[in-house]
């Protein structure tokens, strides 16, 4: 190791020029080869240091996310339970009118589902694409044992929904475990009878609008943060270091305080029996019975998120503003510019890197926010993350949750790539 170090040092200090190309090291190897070797060793050593962490992140982070992404296109909960139907689907091309053979396969599969208690699972999968189908499967499966041939008439007699061509088209789609249907659902799309992609009914639309709303709210919050952060960062950057360090506590203390504490504080402040409403009532601005609803709705989400994300805007702005030389503005003033012109033409352009860094960071964090909207967002202040959580924990439609998560992830990765290109990850600073 000691020798290698010296080698590296030598090779760096004595860069070979064209004239020195024949030089050799003490042990006789050509300098060029020794240099290449040394660099290869150095690269390997650097990589070796990073490797443990890289493996750790690969196993505890990248692999789980990859596995989840797979779930968005892979759902075997119907295809695993239809041995007979899948044979029929394989033998008959799409569009074939289901005849007696198809219904016989259906009845056989329903009987085995009844025995294995899987009709609920299989029905739920079909229900995702054709609402109302779950009950069709469970109720018919209960009766399947008693059905007599001809099965087509018998099955349709139990429930005429079985004759719906859309149902057969959906079952054919679900008979393969791999599907993009969950992405369609995540974008409020579905397939019609012919398999063409169409928009879902208006009273079932949720996600596309919510993606837009999430982007809009994240944008609005970023904008508000920028407006609030700019004067503060400017003040901190222009004050003498001793004073600005003191004022910096106002920024850093919120930054270091628990997210849940800050969310709690906003509930305490904004709820209808809270501090703000009480003050308004006590001062007579608002009547006791018409207290303002500021929380458990979109307003609550916006206010609390601005407060939580504001330090992420102030800190990068500050670190860009601090080194700006005040003599440029002074020079502009002395050349006759008004203070507004000097600010707009000279100062503002120099802060753009800070605005970009802070803005992108706040936007990225805002798009994926979950905790605050969940606690103070009520029904109208929910973001896309909250819908992912809903499908993970409440409706248990995990494939849809995974599809929504993938779309969100793509959005965030795009922004992250942009951040790296424009700002550079190396320039990410904390505190």
């Amino acid at each position: 190791m000691g020798k290698q170090m010296t080698d590296t040092a030598n090779s760096l200090d004595n860069r070979p020029t064209q004239a020195e190309i024949d030089l050799t090291t003490v042990d006789g190897t050509p300098l060029k080869a020794a240099l290449a070797n040394a660099q290869k060793r150095a690269r390997r050593r650097a990589l070796f240091l990073v490797l443990p962490l890289l493996l750790f992140v690969l196993i505890t982070f990248l692999a789980p996310i990859g596995q989840m992404l797979l779930r968005s296109v892979h759902n075997p909960s119907f295809s695993d339970h239809i041995p007979n139907l899948s044979v029929w689907f394989d033998e008959n091309p799409a569009g074939t009118e289901p005849g007696e053979a198809a219904y016989e396969a259906l009845v056989l599969d329903l009987r085995s589902m009844r025995a294995d208690k899987t009709m609920g699972i299989a029905g739920t999968r079909i229900n995702y694409d054709l609402p109302g189908s779950r009950s069709l499967f469970t109720s018919t499966a209960r009766k399947a044992g008693a059905l007599e041939p001809p099965f087509q008439e018998a099955v349709i007699a139990t429930n005429e929904k079985w004759a719906n061509p859309k149902l057969w088209q959906v079952m054919r789609g679900a008979s393969s475990a791999y599907t993009v249907d969950f992405y369609l659902a995540a974008l409020d799309r579905t397939r019609d009878v012919n398999g063409d992609i169409v928009a879902v009914d208006d009273d079932r639309k949720i996600y596309a609008a919510n993606f837009l709303k999430t982007l809009f709210l994240a944008g609005l919050i970023t904008f508000c943060c920028l407006i609030l952060a700019f004067p503060v960062a400017h003040l901190l950057a222009t004050l003498p270091l001793r004073q600005s360090n003191l004022l910096m506590i106002f920024v850093l203390l919120p930054f270091w305080t628990s997210l849940l504490v800050r969310t709690t504080s906003w509930i305490v402040l904004l709820q209808s029996q809270g501090v703000v409403n009480d003050t308004l009532v006590a001062t007579g601005i608002v009547a006791d019975e018409s207290r303002i609803q500021m929380i458990y709705n979109q307003t609550g989400t916006i206010v609390a998120m601005i407060h939580i994300l504001l330090p992420f805007m102030i800190l990068p702005l500050y670190s860009v503003m601090r080194p700006i030389n005040p003599s440029y503005v002074r020079a502009a003033r002395s050349l006759g510019a008004t203070s507004w012109t000097a600010f707009r033409r000279i100062y503002l352009p120099q802060t753009i890197p800070g605005m970009g860094a802070g803005g992108l960071l706040v936007f990225i964090l805002g798009v994926g926010y979950y905790i605050t909207p969940a606690l103070v967002g009520g029904a109208s202040g929910q973001l896309i993350s909250n819908f992912i959580a809903f499908h993970m924990q409440k409706s248990l439609n995990w494939s849809l949750a995974a599809a929504l998560a993938t779309l969100l992830l793509l959005m965030v990765l795009l922004l992250y790539w942009l951040y790296d290109r424009l700002v550079g990850i190396d320039n990410l600073k904390l505190g």
Binding site: G2, M5, T6, A9, R43, R45, L47, L49, V50, P52, L53, L54, F56, V57, T60, P64, I65, Q67, M68, P231, V232, I249, F250, V251, L253, P254, W256, T257, S258, L259, L260, V261, R262, T263, T264, S265, I267, V268, G274, V275, H307, L310, P311, S339, V367, G368, Y370, I371, L375, S385, I388, M392, A405, L408, L409, V412, Y416, I425, D426, G431
Partner: protein, 311 residues
Amino acid sequence: MALPKHASTLERVWHYTYLVICGLIFLFLIAPILIVIPLSFNAEPYFTFTQKMMSFDPEGFSTRWYDLLLTFGMSAPDVARDGSWWADVWQNSAWVQAAKNSVIVGVFATIFATVLGTIAALGLSRPEMPYRRLIMAILISPMIVPIIITATGLFFFYSSIQISKWELFGWQIPYLGIILAHATLGIPFVIITVTATLVGFDHSLTRAAASLGANPRTTFFKVTMPLILPGVISGALFAFVTSFDEVVAVLFIGAFDEQTIPRQMWNGIREQISPAILSVATILVVISILLLTVLELLRRRSERLRGLSPG
């Protein structure tokens, strides 16, 4: 930021308006955090200032909510407060349990993140490091990827490998999933702070140590470590705070009895924001003030050290 003597009236008015605006923004930042402190001493179960509190009547204030933090979940809270009462608190109080769990998870997650992160940062800051940009992007990504996505992925992953049933010498490892998840979430902070410290690091120092006959181990502990230590410690603090404040991963992958402080708060906020939550919040605010102080001292030390280092 004094106003120059030649400033016009308009400029003066604008200047003071500007200061007032800044003051209001500072108020917006800090007031929500400080407001919980007096309210946590409310004698009544409300989240607003009562008449008695406003008139500074001592009867309006009480420490009952702090007391509730200790007694909630105890098997016999009403007996005399002797040694066995405190033993009961230590064993059974729900909040004390949650605090213990949070500390265990936080400490181990921080150790994982700091050790692995510091070693990796040493590699990343070498000029020879290949694929630096890509690897850096991957290692920072846990901070950028929305937590709900991470938690969802981990839920499936840990379920499929049944991590809650893993054993070490026949002993089931508690919190293992949460510790690993929090370690992953803490890594970006360690990487960022330690590489930032290493930016000003003079690599000829290690070469000098080596040329003077120190082996790599000695070089690391005697030369490199003392210089990057402030960065490592602040990275570790970030990692610890990240774990100590993390609730989503715990909600998704934690077993039902693996309660941590944030999870306990989450339940409390959703179900009943009694002032007991505010007293926890107050304690956490005090902790973050302490942390901030430690960090500031570290920053100063780091600057002093770097001022001394050559180059």
